[in-house]
Amino acid sequence: MKGININKEILDHYLVPKHIILNEKEKNELLQKLNISEQQLPKISINDPIVKLIGAKEGDVIKIIRKSHTAGESIYYRLVVKI
């Protein structure tokens, strides 16, 4: 694929926060802690460039560590879906 090297550099872009794929155990713990089903989580498209780069699959939950103006750092979760 063209431009793969450059694609990696977008992870360093100042607008892109850190994305981490949760493993099965972490995912279940999270859903239990929040007491929700995975469909209730915010979504992220499987075609999202960052999702492609970190190699997440449909049904994975991605933990996003945002830089926040108010809290310094805040954590957000998104479920990978087909849109």
């Binding site: 872009h13 607008l15 892109v16 926060p17 915010p42 992220i44 310094g72 805040s74």
Partner: protein
Amino acid sequence: MNLEEAKEILPPKLYNQLKTEISNLSLSESQKEKIIEEVIKAYKSSLVEPGEAIGVIAAQSISEPATQLTMRTYHVAGSVQVQVTLGLPRLIEIFDARREPSTPSMKIYLKKSYDTKEKAAEISRLIKEIRIKDIADEVIIDLVNNAVEININNSLMKHYDLTINKIVKKLEELLPKFKISNKENKIVIKSDSEEIDIKELQKLRTKVIDLYISGIKNIKQVIVSQENDRWVLNTVGSNLKDILNVNGIDISSIKTNNIHEIYEVLGIEAARNAIIEEASSTMRDQGLDVDIRYIMLVADMMTVDGDIKPIGRYGVAGAKGSVLARANFEETIKHLTHAAVVADEDRLESVVENVMINQIVPVGTGMFELLYKPKKKEKA
């Protein structure tokens, strides 16, 4: 309570502040604990209460100052280089999630090793979109030979680092049905077949004038300037995807005001951050002080489903679960008939539909029910 426990409760920024403040003071352990407890108490009391209608508050907090904006949008006098949409029109553009901003622009910084005036000028020439009209003195129709002639301006061509041969090659690619020849700084385009009338020649001329030769598409103008000891390329027009392939550009700090482009190239989270940054800077530039939390809430609502949804009937408001709530907002008949056709159901879970049927609204204390379990009296 000690610092470790406080770390679990407080957000990182507050925690770090507390930690440094405490270490600066010489306090006894019990005093420290008291301070930590007070901070946690103050933090908890400043949190939004469950059931608070934050959406309405955010809507008011943004739109009240925005009404002021209509009346006094500042115009930048003297037009510093580039015209950019500001004020309320720009704000509407952001929240409507328009595909193309009315004045797309980019801000490109350079890598350290490229951060010189010469390199900046070189890159600016490299990325500017060049069409025939940018390098030609004139494009004329030669009626005698049934051909279109381009008179290339030599100095312009050198300025953009092009040669006649390059242009001819490009033209051959773009116009496969025509014979292209050149002498000195003239390019002649002739039809393969002999018969071509004036009308077609005129059409061909218009087409040739606008042919794309080199550079990056949509970058209509590049202005080089210096900001805080760094060279910056301000562009008119935006094309994030192709700019990323240019050598010497600092990818980590590149900016564009086209949010859909950011979504496509950098993903949904970057798009959310871009919405927040663009909206708050637009308001700040106009002298309005809206708390960033409201804008963050709106940006979160726009991006929660993984793509950018506008605020309005095609986006956030149109995605509401309740039929009555949608019908109440806009296009009443459309929603009601559709609901009737597919036998839709309204669970009456949200605010608007409960107002309509005169029930308690699930907001504030109306959101919760009280369950009282009396203790069994112990038998004496």
